[in-house]
């Protein structure tokens, strides 16, 4: 039963029904009673988030939409937001979103909090020693951090995936296959997750007395074009690596195209492991040669952060755990093979 059907059944306009259900004064008591009864009988359930918004009892999550200098839209952000929306719909929350450039971000949060228009918020795109975390702690609203900030001696609620462990495992797996020259196409250098992934790769290499070669390392926005260009430069350069780690399947899409151009067969001539955020658009199993990945769902993280934040706002009992670190799975497919002799 939707609003339209209810309207036809009762012979009342949809507006009247909405007003009746929301307690607006223009509706007579008799009409209201009729509507309420019909709604109850038919199991009609209006959008409660909208109702709460209309009555001023809105539950709302604030978030900053990052606007990058080159205005690239970010699939990773969109996927995370979808998970958050799943939580919001379940708990009748909506979003208040402030687009902001990176340099205005701390202020944007401060004012979002001061405005009274949000009940809680989350921080993402965390950097090393990120000053926003101390700031958030000093403000009065519930917040949660997606990721962690290296070099901060502070306690704060977060959800992170074990980025260091993921890239340690991936690198060790490549070493076991005999690879020694391993390239890294990483996210932007100032982002904490990219820092940790790099540390993981370096730790595994160090155990074999090897180093990450700066000529084979790239930090960039995680787009297809960046993966293509980075891989092409590396393949055209000296001491060509036999394997590559990609911080996203989006980077891998471009990297694989560059390999094809160089006539390299993936999994035979060169190996690749990508981090898989489970973006529905780019499934690693759908690549012509399915990709070996470190897997962790970004949507599930968004959902979990939404659930935890809403529990904090509602002061649910039992309180959600403060800090969570998700293990990352290594999924072996055809893009990894023994190092060429």
């Amino acid at each position: 039963m939707n609003l339209k059907e209810l309207s036809q059944m009762l012979g009342l306009s949809q507006t009247t029904i909405s007003r009746a259900l929301n307690g607006y004064p223009e509706v007579s008591e008799e009409t209201r009673r009729r509507v309420m009864e019909a709604a109850k009988e038919t199991g009609y359930r209006p959008n409660r988030a909208a109702q709460r918004l209309a009555t001023g009892k809105a539950g709302s999550i604030g978030l900053i939409m990052p606007i990058s200098p080159d205005h690239s839209s970010d699939m990773h952000f969109a996927e995370f937001q979808s998970g958050l929306a799943e939580a919001a719909i379940l708990h009748d929350f909506h979003f208040v979103i402030m687009p902001s450039t990176a340099e205005d971000e701390a202020q944007a949060i401060r004012w979002l909090v001061a405005s009274g228009s949000v009940d809680g918020y989350y921080l993402a795109y965390v950097r090393e020693k990120d000053p926003r975390i101390a700031m958030a702690k000093s403000l009065s609203l519930p917040f949660i951090v997606h990721g962690r900030s290296s070099g901060l001696d502070l306690d704060y609620p977060f959800l992170d995936v074990d980025n260091e462990g993921a890239f340690y495992d991936a690198t060790r797996f490549l070493l076991q296959l005999g690879h020694e020259r391993i390239a890294l196409l990483n996210g932007q250098a100032d982002l904490d997750f990219a820092h940790r992934r790099r540390l993981g790769a370096e730790r595994a290499l160090a155990e074999k007395s090897l180093l990450l070669d700066p000529r084979h390392t790239r930090h960039s926005f995680m787009g297809d074009e960046q993966g293509y260009r980075g891989m092409k430069e590396i393949l055209a350069g000296p001491d060509r690596p036999t394997a590559v780690l990609c911080a996203s399947t989006v980077l891998a899409l471009g990297a694989v195209r560059a390999m094809n151009e160089f006539g390299l067969k993936l999994g035979t001539d060169i190996s690749l492991i990508a981090h898989d955020d489970e973006l529905p658009l780019l499934k690693p199993e759908n690549f012509s040669i399915p990709l070996t990945t470190t897997r962790s769902s970004l949507r599930a993280a968004g959902k979990r952060i939404g659930d935890r934040l809403i529990a904090m706002i509602n002061q649910s009992d039992p309180a959600p755990p403060e800090q969570e670190l998700w293990k990352v799975e290594l999924v072996v497919r055809a893009s990894t093979g023994r190092a060429p002799a």
Copy 2:
């Protein structure tokens, strides 16, 4: 000059500076004067959207975030939203976003309007004879429609691209190359843009006394997997087409994979034209064989809709035009060639 630098220069905390600039009472008049002068001298410009939010003078755009039954995040939605954010940042607006399933959408809008938390909104994912348009006209807030609704005899502000013309041109181009069996991988059948693209293809075919073959037509969510599956079924079936029209480069990504599996060389054995929304992740020139496309930037549409809606809200003079139809460009690349003999 950012807030941090201003704070260091004045020897005042960032909080104090924000409060001074926003007129909070905790700050002494002398401090406020110092801050205001320094801000003026250094050209410091705080995030005005945030300021307006804090002072209750927020400009805000309401939008519904569609939650599809399979909870797929939609890159097309994300890209449009980025364009809208460009407009919002320029004019100091923020977003209030309500996640909603398709069936709750009309109600979500009604309540968004009733809540007083938005100054205007836009409608997207328009269907044939879409009842939301008459509803929006009956409400008191500025709105604009992205797309149009076939079969509605109403005047309303919209921005649309010439979807019918685009697919008419694309189909005619394929016919000129000698193709007669042309497949169509389209968007969801109930969406108006998909309906119009289909009409365009049918019109061009009819001029040659040809029909669209239902066995070679698919309507689906525009994802990579849907493109792959649809193309695979069609290639495995009878009367294999020699060309295919795709409603998105995302569908094309999957379609090309299916062609590769069948050992078909794109541009020689089979031709393909995709609609290109200029998604930065999936540039048609970056496919191994660059794609011929009908091109229209979804981000530019988002920006334009944001600009127009904000002008309507601010009652700018001159008023923006009511209705706009953008022409779509046919860009010929290597994925189209003469029909095989």
